[in-house]
């Protein structure tokens, strides 16, 4: 007997390398050819506090971090106690026997990994010792992990060989411990064979690279969890001639400077999370009024105010579409995984350029931080749209007409006043009722050019449909597939393009008797929005700061369907 999946969780305190352990495990397995997906959760502090990292390794493409653990690596008593309920029947516990002792559990084995690492003269290798033990217990080929170690630590330094040899020795030491334990889980299937090169990529990296592939040249941001990684990635990688990366002194500065840079003709983006998005409300209104292309990537975290800074949630949809006061409807694209994040970010850049206004790329902590193996995206397939630049023929009448018009760029012809106050064709402030009507209609009419969004539709004949959004896609798809296999008649719809919705998708949803929307928030934000558009939508909500479990979703969908009949 063999298994398609292995789910390993490293649990302990922040600073004990539990997230790094899961990452290393995933990287090693990916190098061996497996599909991998990571998920981590930790408190907002530099060191300490309960944290865990999880790696799912599979011989098949992966949709979720996995509901149940095959192996729990527990660094302390608290980690053992709180994570044990997630261990599947027949699962194994590996615990830090220097820290605590587990009694009365025949499926638990203690390893003093830190002590072993110190005694071997390689104190940094304790995580590798644990990985060696886990690999042995799960039947993963140790040679593949050795190959990973060689690759990872070949950095052209004199110390390379010493580190590699030390880590391989640690791996073997761990494997010996694994053997000694006498414990094992169902061995993993051999890895699949891949025709194309694959990359191990995190959601935030994919989003950054997608935006760059679409021609991003300016990024200005302010550090905030869980969006800081995009700012630091850009600082490192958006370099060279005519590229600009800046750190603002607040999100108010970020959005204001982005408006300035977009006005100056640059292709611009920032990243933020909920609190920053709140501060950007007025500036996004300015971009909407003055018709300035820009992209804000909101990496959603939990709750209002400071909330849950490092947890995942999908509770910013209202704020993304209506981030500020007054009549506006900001276009929103929400990717469901790192691969989609690449294309979604490029699409967001293109939308901003095409309709000349702000676009929100709505990400989530669990997507941004997730590492996953995907086929290498073909960057040459990314479209690069650029705003139509004014040739000066209409002079300074920048806001003439009832939809998108050529954009005058400073330094070129067509000098005008870009104005956040209501304005006439030349951008001069006015309070005339007829002009406010004309300009409001113009700004909303521009959204028409964004109705090119695509969507997935399966089993379209079913009268009840499932419509997840964003990061809930994976769990929802896994649940939907199982329900279909079990003979349930349920339609599947999915789109990244939440505003404006693809018109054909809205029409299809309006024709359903019931549309179930799994979303990680209390209010059921997309469902409520769909109801306002004439769709009989019901939300399936969860607001724990964690993603949906596939099993929970499945039973919730069954319950809703049963109750509806």
């Amino acid at each position: 007997m063999s298994s398609k999946n292995l789910v390993v969780r490293f649990a302990g305190e922040g600073g004990q390398g539990v997230v790094g352990g899961a990452d290393l495990m995933a990287s090693a397995a990916a190098t061996g050819g497996y599909h991998v997906l990571t998920f981590s959760t930790f408190p907002s502090q530099i060191k300490g506090g309960p944290a865990w990292g999880q790696a799912r390794v599979s011989s098949e493409p992966i949709l979720t971090p996995g509901d149940w653990l095959d192996v729990l690596v527990a660094q302390n008593q608290y980690a053992y106690d709180t994570n044990l309920p997630d261990l599947r029947e027949g699962g194994i516990v590996v615990y830090n026997s220097e820290e605590f002792e587990v009694t009365g559990n025949s499926r638990a084995y203690g390893i003093a990994a830190d002590k072993m690492a110190r005694e071997a003269g390689n104190p940094l290798a304790s995580t590798i010792i644990l990985i060696g033990a886990v690999a042995q217990m799960a039947g993963i080929d140790l040679n593949a992990i050795e190959a990973f170690i060689v690759k990872r630590w070949t950095r052209g330094r004199a110390s390379d060989k010493q580190i590699i040899d030390g880590n391989i020795a640690a791996l073997r030491m761990g494997a010996e411990e694994g053997k000694k334990s006498g414990l094992s889980v169902t061995p993993l299937d051999p890895p699949p064979v891949h025709a194309e090169p694959r990359v191990m990529i995190r959601g935030f990296e994919a989003a950054c690279l997608g935006a760059m592939a679409a021609g991003l040249d300016t990024f200005i941001g302010y550090p905030i969890s869980p969006a800081t990684t995009m700012l630091t990635f850009m600082e490192q990688n958006l370099v060279g001639k005519d590229k600009f990366v800046g750190q603002a002194s607040s999100e108010i500065e970020s959005i204001a400077s982005l408006v300035g840079a977009g006005f100056a003709g640059r292709k611009v983006m920032t990243s933020t999370a909920g609190p920053g998005l709140s501060l950007m409300g007025e500036g996004l209104g300015l971009a909407w009024m003055a018709e300035i292309p820009l992209v804000v990537c909101d990496v959603q975290r939990g709750g209002p105010a400071t909330g849950l800074p490092t947890k995942t949630e999908q509770s910013d949809l209202y704020a993304a579409i209506n981030p500020g006061h007054g009549d506006m409807s900001v276009p929103v694209i929400a990717p469901g995984n790192p691969e989609e994040a690449f294309w979604a970010a490029g699409h967001a850049m293109n939308w901003a350029e095409r309709y000349q206004g702000p676009v929100i790329l709505l990400s989530e902590a669990s997507i941004a931080e997730r590492a996953q193996d995907i086929a290498i995206p073909d960057a040459s397939k990314m479209k690069q749209e650029n705003r139509v630049v004014s040739d000066g023929k209409v002079g300074n009448r920048r806001y003439a007409g009832d939809s998108v018009t050529p954009f005058p760029v400073p330094g070129g012809p067509g000098a005008y006043v870009a104005n956040g106050s209501e304005h006439d064709e030349e951008g001069d402030t006015t309070h005339l009722p007829n002009i406010h009507v004309q300009m409001t209609d113009r700004r909303f009419a521009k959204l028409k050019v964004l109705e090119d969004g695509t969507f997935e539709a399966e089993r379209t004949s079913a009268s009840i449909a499932l419509l997840p959004w964003g990061g809930s896609k994976g769990s929802a798809l896994a649940a939907w597939r199982e329900l279909i296999d079990e003979g349930v008649d349920l339609g599947w719809y999915y789109t990244m393009f939440l505003n404006p919705l693809p018109p054909a998708l809205l029409e299809a949803l309006q024709a359903k008797r019931l549309v179930l929307v799994p979303e990680l928030n209390y209010l059921g934000q997309l469902a409520a929005r769909l109801r306002s558009m004439g769709v009989n939508a019901q939300a399936i909500t969860q607001y724990t700061g964690l993603p949906f479990k596939e099993a929970d979703l499945k039973s919730a969908i069954r319950e809703r369907m049963a109750a509806f009949k």
């Binding site: 990359v199 204001a256 300035g260 840079a261 006005f263 100056a264 193996d373 995206p377």
Partner: protein, 291 residues
């Protein structure tokens, strides 16, 4: 009413100090266009919200680009214009409410970035557009609609604030001295870093300070403003701080930091060259992630 746009109906009150500032900016830009052989479209004026911000709609003659944004945010908007487009000449205009109250948080960061941006502050010591509320530069004890029993908060000393926050070029002027003001704005644009031209620009409706600033011998009013003596060493920060500590207002160039010759964008370029940063294609970055 704007001569350029007959439909534009905003008006400054008769005698408003902002008229002088507007003309001074027009003169400075005209001189720059000739001296630098630079088209006016290379200039961007970022305006805040308030009476002063309407200057961009009232500008006459050859038109620069302008962005009339939101209250208090002219400086970060200007950062976004100038940072990635160092080829542009960037000015900001705003009042004491816009720059020193809601927008005050941006002066320090902008001073530290030290991009070549010229900020013109029109100080009338009152919120004019919203009809007469106390501002940071309203005098203590003054009765306004938000200080019925007299203003309790201390008055801000803007010139001291600029110097304290690290602004490298500080000018104090009067809106009634149009020609010297135009020359000061031109010189501030030529300075290769962040500069502030602080202008006493009286509000004839809510805080008419013309007489107090210039003095009136007949009425026995001592002038509040005084010309900065030739003996003042403009490169000496301590001397500049002594000069501005009040209560009288010095007029002229207050401070010019020495050694400012390299613009921030050039420093960025130098840093990239020094650290040998290479531009990589998206595809190359993806290839680095191949398993």
């Amino acid at each position: 009413m704007s001569k350029r746009n007959a439909l534009y109906d905003f008006k400054w009150c008769p005698g408003c100090g902002d008229f002088g500032v507007k003309v001074a900016i027009e003169q400075a830009l005209a001189r720059r266009a000739v001296e630098n052989q630079e088209s006016i479209e290379k200039t961007v004026i970022v305006a805040g919200i308030g009476c002063s911000g309407n200057l961009v709609h009232l500008q006459e003659g050859p038109q620069p680009f302008a962005l009339h944004g939101i209250h208090g945010r002219a400086l970060p908007i200007a950062y976004g214009v100038k940072g990635p487009r160092p080829d542009l000449n960037v000015l900001t205009v705003g009042g004491d409410g816009d720059m020193l109250s809601i927008g005050a948080e941006h002066i320090g960061p902008q001073a530290r970035r030290n991009l070549n941006i010229t900020t013109i502050v029109m100080d009338n010591g009152i919120y004019g557009l919203t009809k007469g509320q106390a501002s940071p530069t309203t005098n203590v004890d003054v009765v306004t609609s938000t200080t019925r029993y007299g203003k309790l908060d201390d008055k801000l000393n803007p010139l001291m604030a600029y110097l304290g926050l690290g602004v490298g070029y500080v000018v104090s002027e009067l809106s009634s001295r149009v020609k010297p003001l135009g020359e000061a704005i031109k010189a501030a644009m030529d300075y290769p870093g962040f500069s502030v031209v602080h202008v006493q620009s009286p509000c004839t409706t809510y805080n008419d300070t013309y007489a107090i600033l210039k003095g009136d011998e007949k009425k026995g009013i001592e002038p509040l403003a005084f010309p900065i003596p030739d003996t003042h060493d403009v490169t000496n920060l301590h001397a500049a701080m002594d000069l501005v500590q009040g209560p009288r207002i010095p007029i002229g160039l207050v401070y010019r930091r020495e050694g400012e010759s390299v613009a921030a964008d050039q420093r960025l370029l130098d840093a990239k060259i020094r650290t040998k940063v290479e531009q990589k294609s998206v595809d190359a970055l993806l290839r680095e992630m191949v398993i």
